[in-house]
């Protein structure tokens, strides 16, 4: 049991000593959701078997970590050779490669794919050396076993909490967070210290700290990665927040789609309780703090704080008008702060290193780093934690290594269904909360979906509308009916039935929905429409006036025609699902446009570029 800060010091020292005298070689196996789905388990089994065969079980420490952030190369294995001070990261490892991989000291060879490290750890005092990523929130992700409390303690775990409880006043804690300039990482970017101060200043018999782990933005997965890889950092952040505002109860609201994160959170809470790091009289300070887990059940709107609170209470997750703000009357009408996972995971480091250190990263208005989930048509898909103020070009073309299959970049969507798209000519803007808003998009939770020339922007807008349509809770009319009408207009345009009037109405209704909806979901739902209309106006015009979709996505606007390059190989005819291609061997074929369902199979199959898409 850890009852005092001396106990914690002793425990931390014990774990460090164990590391120093322990195995000289560490093999880290990435066991997050992505890793497991990509096939890490058989690799882990092979590692165990090989070590057993070689009699090295005692000499090599196999660590099951969370996400290493290099999702493009899963399954990933990192081999750390402490004797020679070297480490290698291998990607796309197969069980067959394991024996070669375990030849410690060998240079990466024998068909192993080595992954370059594009990140550094400022908290370890590591210089950047040209590595663009600065991992502060992800400082333990992929480096520790999330199910071993000792691993977290070794990395200065719970020291911030001990420090806060034994030597600081609640006001001083809030003050550090305010001075650090930390802003809500869930989307809104509201100053975290300010939020805490509101709740701290209300006197009430009971207050709550709620961690918003309902990562509903499709395409964002940093919160999942943090919870799966370093759950204790979130628990510690919550306890510190609890002390700052005078709350003794924390609730983590997590979506049911993340079973592994739930499992690891439960394990972490249990360990922390048994170690005396959660519960009664923490560090002998008289401060009590407990955390419970509540599940979401698939509702995007529950990312909105008032809706989330109603869901925790067991109601339908419908939002309510603010004020009263949750900081005044939230969960069970008590003062409540709702903070996102990434925000809370920043807190322990801010307390340990101080506000000035944190401000050494990022921009004056958006200090610190942000974890982005890079996905879509980009070569290196994964998590990228970079200082705010980096440009999108550096992220997409630097860390992400450009567009897949040599295609041309078209746009990147940030902020998910509430955000907007950003064009090529805007990629050099240093990004933070404010610059993204000026570009007609928003930070959101940090999802970045990269799109190439094969994506139709009208269709993308329609996709997001379909999502909000499905997720609108139905409480207020503009969102419930307005979005439905927007979706219908977009469908009309994609089907080649739109007119100039449709475009005008699309824009004016979008603006009305933004102005009149009750909560954040409705107020931002037309953003993808407005952003694409403004930035890709010519694509909208082509759909409406020329009945043409340049990406060939909107099937109603596409025609497939066989040109003179056809050699009569019959490949297209054999693959056509509706048998609408006629012609004899070695003679030019013809597509029956009436029967054609415009699936594009012939276009993809033809080896002679003999089919034109018009």
């Amino acid at each position: 049991m850890i009852r005092t800060s001396e106990d914690l010091k002793r425990e931390t020292e014990r774990t460090r000593q164990a590391r120093r005298t322990g195995a000289a070689t560490q093999v880290l196996v990435s066991m997050g959701t992505c890793g497991i789905a990509a096939g890490t388990q058989p690799v882990l089994d092979a590692i165990r078997t090989t070590l057993k065969e070689r009699g090295l079980e005692e000499k090599v420490d196999v660590v099951q970590t969370g996400c290493m952030g290099i999702c493009h190369s899963e399954p990933c294995i990192e081999v750390i050779d402490r004797v020679n001070g070297r480490d290698f990261i291998y990607g796309q490892v197969t069980p067959q490669q394991v024996p070669a991989l375990l030849d410690v000291g060998a240079e990466p060879s024998k068909g192993l794919q080595s992954v370059p490290r594009t990140w550094h750890y400022p908290d370890d005092g590591e210089p950047s050396n040209g590595r663009p990523q600065a991992r502060i929130v992800l400082r333990n992700s992929g480096r520790i076993d999330p199910e071993r409390l000792d691993d977290y303690l070794e990395k200065d775990g719970y020291q911030a909490l001990a420090n806060v409880l034994t030597s600081m006043k609640p006001d001083a804690v809030t003050d550090v967070v305010t001075k650090s300039g930390l802003r809500g990482r869930g989307g809104g970017g509201f100053p975290t210290g300010k939020k805490w101060a509101f709740a701290a200043n209300v006197s009430a018999p009971e207050k709550f700290v709620v961690c918003n782990a309902d990562e509903g933005d499709p395409g964002a997965f940093m919160d999942r990665a943090i919870l799966e890889s370093d759950p204790h950092s979130v628990l510690e952040g919550m306890a510190i927040a609890g002390f700052a505002i005078g709350s003794h109860r924390g609730v983590i609201y997590i979506r049911a789609e993340y079973p592994l994160a739930v499992k690891r959170l439960f394990a972490a809470i249990d360990q922390a309780k048994r170690a005396g790091l959660l519960g009664k009289n923490l560090f002998g300070s008289g401060f009590d703090f407990d955390i419970e887990i509540k599940y979401g059940a698939g509702a995007f709107v529950c990312g909105e704080e008032t809706a989330l609170i109603h869901s925790v209470e067991g109601y339908r997750g419908e939002p309510t008008i603010k004020p009263p703000f949750p900081a005044v009357a939230g969960l069970w009408k008590r003062p409540t702060i709702v903070n996102n996972v990434e925000t809370l995971a920043n807190v322990p480091t801010i307390i340990r290193r101080g506000a000035a250190w944190f401000r050494g990263f990022g921009t004056p208005n958006s200090p610190g780093t942000k974890v982005f989930a890079l996905a879509g048509k980009v070569n290196k898909v994964g998590l990228a934690e970079v200082p705010m103020g980096m440009t999108l070009r550096q992220i997409i073309f630097g860390i992400g290594e450009g567009i897949k299959n040599g295609r041309n970049f078209k746009a990147v969507q940030t902020g998910g269904p509430s955000g907007g798209c950003i064009r090529e000519d805007e990629l050099d803007t240093p990004i933070d909360y404010d610059t993204l808003r000026n570009l007609g998009s928003m930070m959101g939770s940090g999802g970045m979906i990269v799109m190439d020339e094969d994506d139709c922007m009208v269709n993308i807008a329609k996709f997001f509308l379909e999502f909000t349509l499905d997720e609108s809770c139905g409480k207020c009319t503009p969102c419930r009916i307005g979005n439905k009408r927007l979706f219908e207009m977009l469908s009309k345009i994609c089907d080649g039935k739109g007119s100039s009037e449709t475009l005008q109405r699309l824009e004016s209704l979008s603006l009305t929905i933004k102005d009149t909806s009750l909560c954040g979901l409705g107020q931002t739902s037309p953003n993808p429409v407005l952003a694409t209309m403004r930035k890709f106006a010519d694509e909208y015009r082509e759909h409406v006036h020329d009945r043409h979709c340049r990406s060939g996505v909107c099937t109603a606007l596409v025609r497939y025609v066989i040109n003179e390059r056809c050699v009569g190989c019959m490949l297209c005819a054999r693959n056509c699902p509706v048998n609408c291609i006629a012609g004899e061997r070695k003679k030019s074929h013809v597509i029956d446009e009436v029967k054609c369902i415009r699936c594009g199979v012939c276009f993809e199959k033809c080896k002679f570029h003999a089919i034109d898409r018009a």
Partner: protein
């Protein structure tokens, strides 16, 4: 209060599996519930998760049972079930095939996968095959965007799925 306030719903699913009922009963008894619906209500969503995990769906008899134990009205329980997309009151197949509908999967061709599954199973989205083997549906983003497009069958995640993999995924279920 404390006894059933309505007749047990006619579907009879609750009692058809005594071991499932016993497990649900044990779970509900482990909750710190009292006589106040206000505080019991916060256990509702987790209880429904448990029940759906056991029965695969939430038929009226199960809804009513949960309602009675938590001293809530059936209408309140149904209101919650109909709000959240995770819950269903319709029976589902032994294998729930879910195509991720997240943005990353969408731009990587999830739409074509859905069409392919529909074609192979001869059912529409949200339906179950006549033999009760497969259900087909969309799934909210599972956060495995780096593996897009993904298909989740019960708890197994298939990565980088292409239309040609669809028959193999289906046959792997048997």
């Amino acid at each position: 209060m404390g006894t059933a306030c309505c007749p047990i719903a006619a579907d009879g699913v609750l009692d058809r599996f005594p071991e499932k009922r016993a497990e649900l009963e044990a779970y509900l008894a482990s909750l710190e519930t009292g006589d106040s619906p206000g505080s019991n209500r916060s256990y509702l969503i987790q209880s429904l998760h448990k029940a759906q995990h056991l029965y695969g769906f939430l038929p009226e008899s199960v809804q009513l049972h949960v309602a009675n134990r938590l001293k809530l009205h059936l209408a309140e329980v149904y209101g919650v079930i109909s709000f959240y997309s995770f819950f269903t009151d319709q029976p589902v197949g032994r294998y729930r095939i879910c195509v991720c509908t997240g943005t990353a999967c969408f731009v990587k061709g999830a739409g074509k996968l859905m069409e392919e599954f529909k074609h192979h199973l001869a059912i529409e989205e949200g339906e179950t095959t006549g033999n009760g083997m497969y259900s087909l549906g969309g799934l909210r983003c599972v956060g495995a965007c780096s593996l897009a497009p993904v298909v989740v069958v019960n708890d197994k995640v298939y990565a980088h799925v292409t239309p040609t993999m669809v028959p193999d995924i289906l046959s792997a279920c048997r």
